[in-house]
Amino acid sequence: MADQQFEPKIVGFLCRWCSYTGADLAGTSRMQYPPTLTGIRVMCSGRVDPTFVVKALKEGADGVLIAGCHPGDCHYSEGNYKAMRRHPMLANLLEQFGIERGRVRLEWISASEGELFAEVVTDFTEQLQELGPLNWNQRIEADCETV
């Protein structure tokens, strides 16, 4: 089951105003966390279209983190509420496709919460180690073979 050697790949969509700065803080403060996350800076968590998440999962990510400002703090006032409503809708849909809910995670991380960022990445990494590799595209390819 849990393969402790397995190092999951996480794609992190980080809002530039809060979470990306939070990630920066974790780095400049030399906090320790697993090197599993590739961060992509987006203007707002509300900018993260569900197709981005699916594309990441199809192209090799084992999990996707969407991180934005805390509710009430979004620089575009409501972007993070959009992210909040999309998240369970997407998780329900992905579950029907056989992708575990735990592979897509939504977190609110402010610019000053470097420590929280490190904790989230550590915890998410462990969670994905439990789930194992996704290999979504290989699974689709296997289904697409005809015989």
Binding site: G46, D49, P50, T51, V54, K55, K58, P71, Y81, K82, M84, R85, R86, H87, P88, M89, L90, A91, N92, L93, L94, Q96, F97, N137, I140, E141, D143, C144, E145, T146, V147
Partner: protein
Amino acid sequence: MAKPKVAFYWCASCGGCEETIVDLAEDILGVVEAVDIALWPVAIDMKRKDVEAWEPGDVAVAFINGAVRLSEQKEWVELLREKCSLVIAFGSCAHMGGIPGLANATNREEIFANKYHRSPTVANPDGIVPQEQTNVDGYDLELPTFWKDVKPLNEVIDVDYYLPGCPPPFDLVATAVGAILEGKLPPKGSVIAPEKALCDTCERNDTKPDEMTITEFKRTATSTPDPEKCFLADGFLCMGPATRSGCGERCINGNMPCRGCFGPTPDAIDPGLKLLAAIASRGEADSEEDAKALADSLVDPLGTYYRFGLPASMLKRSADTERAQT
């Protein structure tokens, strides 16, 4: 000048598309007088060897309906591709997989288990399952291979045009046939239907909310939609925002939300994900609990968003198809 020949063929389909062709034959005699029907299995008895005897280009256009699931369907559509100058994917199933494509939500083993063993109406004490090869009284019998997955036509052969809809409405078919006869064809690969979204032509658009106030989704099985209001305003999921127009709002006029049979508008990378994003942007839930409750009230999102296009969805199409389409 000899009349151009056309061929009609069917794969995994319900027969509804054939009805449109019958309507076509009845209503636009002009077109029917202008062409010869070279192949039409639902009405004319022909064997594969008859088609094999055609020269490539003998037949101007093949209208192929239905998704592809069997090896035999693949052989037929490849043969038609070779012999016909144009191939048109006719109807939702050939275009995107259609209703038969919903089978891709499960797998071949499960389908066989249900069909031949588990279903309550099945009595099969000897556990007999169809075999691709059997010997009966000294004769070797063969059945086609049932593929792992259902495929839209363009994953099996090169397709020139698509006529969307379940079934395609008569006027769009007539337009397409006219364009072919006059040689006024759109660029290869076009879907022969307007590019605008259904909402843009829908009479109920005036009542479509910018901000949705729904806190849960209703189902047409258990509540009746308001006959005037935009379905989204009334809490019913309508695929109108992500679906091409051109059907004549057939479902809306019958007080049913759009189920998306015309397929996505050209800008939608994936119709389900586009709709999901659109609804979520408009929902009213302001806490994680409310957001979860709103999401959970939509029973079967996969079947709702991809009723007609699961095999062509971003989550199910293969990387090869993805590359070809983008």
